[in-house]
């Protein structure tokens, strides 16, 4: 058995022991099932959500807001980052705003977006977008400012102009920086969507969470947390594969 397999078996065993202990403690009454329902009950809730199909409209709504926010945030972050890095005027205007947005917990904007944009998709998309935009803006802006000058001069001495510099140095560098932050951006987009739904909405995993909390349904709350964690982990795996594909030269 390889070291990786040994590690995986150990982790699986540790998880099983933890679940078994949790189940036992809950069943013998040492843990109050009202607050800490046993894993079997949480598993049952997950099964019901999936089997009845109740989960899918909510998961779909959250995924739509998260993916749309991720896409718009990437486009805005890259565009504004490039503009600020290449134009001192744009940098002067944008940098203080972005620093301010970066300094605050941006989820506090959620109520404002609900007031402005309503409880539909737009307010969730806006929150996910702003979370991603600020992250990607700084990745691109700082990345371009700190681009390896030796590579720039290499291109210049080979006779390359701005177009060649963009194609050979800036765009590959920006791709590396963006992909380096991509997994965090996926997490941020999901955070924005779920928090937006939690504040005010009529569907989505955040809405379900809010419902579970207001009805003191701990089993549903834990089940939803597990579903969100699983979904984000799947997205992380996809993001990692994409990163390894786009930045193949880094993983050789």
């Amino acid at each position: 058995m390889s070291a990786d397999q040994t590690r995986a078996v150990r982790r699986a065993l540790a998880l099983l022991v933890l679940l078994a202990a949790w189940e036992t403690l809950s069943r013998i009454g040492w843990l109050d099932p009202f607050y800490v329902p046993p894993p079997s009950r949480v598993g049952g809730v997950v099964f019901d959500l999936v089997a009845t199909g109740d989960l899918w409209p909510h998961l779909g709504a959250t995924a739509l807001a998260a993916f749309a926010g991720l896409l718009v945030g990437l486009v805005l972050g890259i565009g504004l980052g490039f503009a600020a890095a290449l134009s001192p005027l744009v940098a002067d205007l944008l940098e203080p705003v972005m620093i301010l947005l970066n300094a605050i917990p941006r989820v506090i904007l959620a109520p404002l977006f609900v007031i402005w944009l309503g409880i539909g998709l737009a307010s969730k998309l806006a929150l996910a977008t702003i979370l991603v935009t600020v992250l990607i803006f700084f990745a691109v802006y700082n990345g371009i400012k700190e681009v390896d000058r030796r590579l720039v001069e290499r291109i210049q001495t080979l006779g390359g102009g701005q177009t060649v510099l963009a194609r050979e140095v800036y765009i590959p560098s920006v791709t590396a920086w963006v992909m380096g932050n991509f997994k965090v951006a996926v997490g941020f987009a999901f955070t924005g969507a779920v928090v937006g739904e939690f504040v005010a909405s009529s569907r989505g995993l955040g809405y379900l969470l809010q419902f579970a909390q207001s009805t003191y349904n701990a089993a549903l709350t834990i089940a939803l947390i597990l579903i969100i964690m699983t979904f984000v982990l799947v997205l992380f795996a996809v993001a990692e594969r994409l990163e390894r594909r786009l930045l193949a030269w880094r993983y050789l």
Binding site: R150, R154, Q156, G159, L252
Partner: protein, 250 residues
């Protein structure tokens, strides 16, 4: 081939270089030596338009596209394969993709990197990366080759081997070369003339020495030539004469 006239270079404060005059004849191999901070690299950067001088002029008998610049660092694009790095300059100058690839293979083979075309720079050793950088520059068939301590980071054996390969090529093609180096033995071993810069700021060329050791040269055996030892002593004395470093390093 290259005439530098009254070159003064500064970085906002006191000039690093002050009134440098330098002539490099076609087919000659010249070295620039001097203490750290004396502005050796700045001269090369002005010749390649990477740096604007405060005063002075650069006169060239070749087009700037016929100048090859070998940097101290290999400065290869990490996201491009070896072949793509070697063909970069050719593609910038409009070579067709097929022709550029053929030339890249030719140069990689010449430099002992046959079969390495699909690898990335991160998969190569320091010496191999340096060979790729050399291939990238020589593939452009420069008439004037500028080198800024190109082999400083390599170990002695690799350094000697690559220096010899490059020297063989320069002698065979009668390239004009201006080399910046800290290594006095290297300067004497490969050059036809050595220019000694004084300490910066306001560095000037304080001495010029012709080296009449016949070519072709072997970088190891050249040290046994009767002129080598005395010239090394002279250069050493000239540099040891310089006051301790206190200025800007460039």
């Amino acid at each position: 081939m290259l005439r530098v006239r009254g070159l003064t270079v500064g970085y906002g404060g006191e000039p690093v270089l002050d009134g440098i005059d330098l002539d490099l004849e076609s087919g000659h191999f010249a070295s620039l030596i001097g203490p750290s901070g004396s502005g050796k690299t700045s001269i090369l950067r002005v010749v390649t338009n990477l740096l604007q001088p405060e005063h002075g002029a650069i006169e060239l008998d070749v087009n700037t596209r016929e100048i090859g610049f070998l940097f101290q660092d290999d400065a290869l694009l990490p996201w491009r394969t070896v072949r793509q790095n070697v063909t970069l300059g050719l593609r910038i100058r409009g070579a067709a993709s097929g022709d550029a690839d053929t030339q890249a293979e030719h140069w990689l083979t010449r430099l002992g990197l046959e079969g390495f075309g699909d690898r990335y720079p991160g998969q190569l050793s320091g010496g191999q990366r340096k060979r790729v950088a050399i291939a990238q520059v020589l593939a452009l068939r420069p008439k004037l080759l500028l080198m800024d301590e190109p082999f400083a980071s390599l170990d002695a054996i690799v350094r000697t081997r690559i220096t010899q390969e490059l020297l063989d090529w320069v002698e065979r093609e009668h390239l004009t070369v201006l080399l910046v180096t800290h290594d006095l033995e290297e300067a004497i071993g490969v050059s036809d003339e050595v220019h000694v810069l004084s300490h910066g700021p306001r560095a000037t060329i304080r001495a010029r020495h012709s080296i009449d050791i016949p070519r072709p040269r072997n970088v190891l055996q050249v040290r046994r030539h009767p002129d080598f030892g005395p010239l090394l002593q002279t250069l050493w004395d000239e540099l040891a004469d310089e006051p301790p470093e206190k200025g800007t390093a460039t």
